[in-house]
């Protein structure tokens, strides 16, 4: 008498995985091609009131520090003056930060001289923007020894645009 073997008993079911693997590789290629690696970015707020007559003048507000930045014909920085003092060291932005720290005396936080002080950037029209950003960085703060950002002056504005 023949032995009756039930269907499926001891049989190995193989799936055809080729379409799934194809699909996965397509996905990998899509994501790889659409991947863009960007450096992270940050923002500096600038204070640009619409009109000078806007609201009452804050009596606790200190007069703004004027920062004059002059450029040569190619837009490179040639001179930087803070108030009446010309910053003439080999790294004028480090000197600028030292000057700002000597004024603020690391008095930071709400109600401090750092929060009341304002700086006004007066730049030649053809000055390369990278110098403006370096000046803003120098006056805004510095990275402390514990890698925390210590803020200095937060109120930054531009003078009226120079024609050039």
């Amino acid at each position: 008498m023949p032995r009756i073997k039930s269907k499926g008993e001891g049989e190995r079911v193989d799936f055809d995985m080729t379409p799934m693997i194809d699909c996965c590789f397509q996905l990998i290629i899509f994501f790889m091609l659409s991947l863009k690696i960007f450096a992270s970015e940050g923002d500096f707020s600038i204070k640009m009131p619409v009109s000078k007559s806007e609201g009452p003048v804050d009596p606790t507000q200190l007069p703004p520090i004027k920062l004059r930045m002059k450029a040569d014909g190619t837009g490179r920085l040639v001179a930087i003056t803070m108030g009446t003092k010309q910053l003439s060291s080999s790294d004028p932005f480090a000197e600028l930060r030292r000057e700002v720290r000597s004024i603020i005396k690391d008095d930071i936080g709400p109600g401090s001289s750092g929060s009341k002080q304002e700086i006004e950037l007066d730049c030649d029209a053809n000055l390369q923007y990278q110098y403006v950003m370096r000046a803003i960085t120098a006056v805004s703060g510095y990275v402390g020894p514990d890698r925390q950002v210590v803020k200095l002056i937060e109120r930054i504005k531009f003078s009226p645009r120079r024609q050039g």
């Binding site: 693997i21 970015e41 940050g42 923002d43």
Partner: protein, 146 residues
């Protein structure tokens, strides 16, 4: 006595499980690192760097990103206009804000200017935006490792 060697007909199968695991790991990695929101970062713009530039948290409400190239052209979305043509673009943005019952003072104008752009061009852009009652401006920089 000695016949032909017996040939077995068994199929050779590979264990594909590790490869599939690895493939899925790659798919998940690329899915998570892909960020479509970074489309506003135009590769033409070489931002100046700053050690104080840290990502803004939470992100700005109603941001309008103006990208200024080294040749002093302005890129807004996918549109590239000279500075003289910026007013009409910003007026359109202003109308869009008004449709959401918002005024230009609610928007933040993000300026992503190339390091070689002229400062005068950036100032002119701010003046144009101010004339349309935009009040909040931020200058964007690339994070620099200290």
């Amino acid at each position: 006595m000695f016949g032909k060697p017996k040939r077995t007909s068994s199929a050779v199968t590979f264990d594909m499980t590790p490869m599939i695991d690895c493939t899925f790991q790659l798919v998940i990695f690329f899915m998570l690192t892909l960020n479509f929101a970074n489309d506003e970062q135009n590769e033409m713009i070489r931002l100046p760097s700053s050690e104080l530039a840290k990502p803004t948290e939470p992100p700005w409400e109603f941001p309008i990103t103006l990208q200024v190239t080294g040749k002093n052209m302005v890129i807004v979305g996918s549109e590239q206009v000279p500075i003289s043509g910026l007013r009409s673009v910003l007026q359109r943005e202003r109308s869009a804000l008004e449709r959401f019952n918002r005024t230009p003072s609610h928007a933040t104008v993000i300026i992503r200017a190339d390091r070689y752009a002229k400062t005068g061009a950036v100032q002119e852009i701010i003046e144009i935006a101010q004339s349309l009652k935009f009040e909040r401006f931020v200058l964007r920089a690339k994070e620099k490792e200290v």
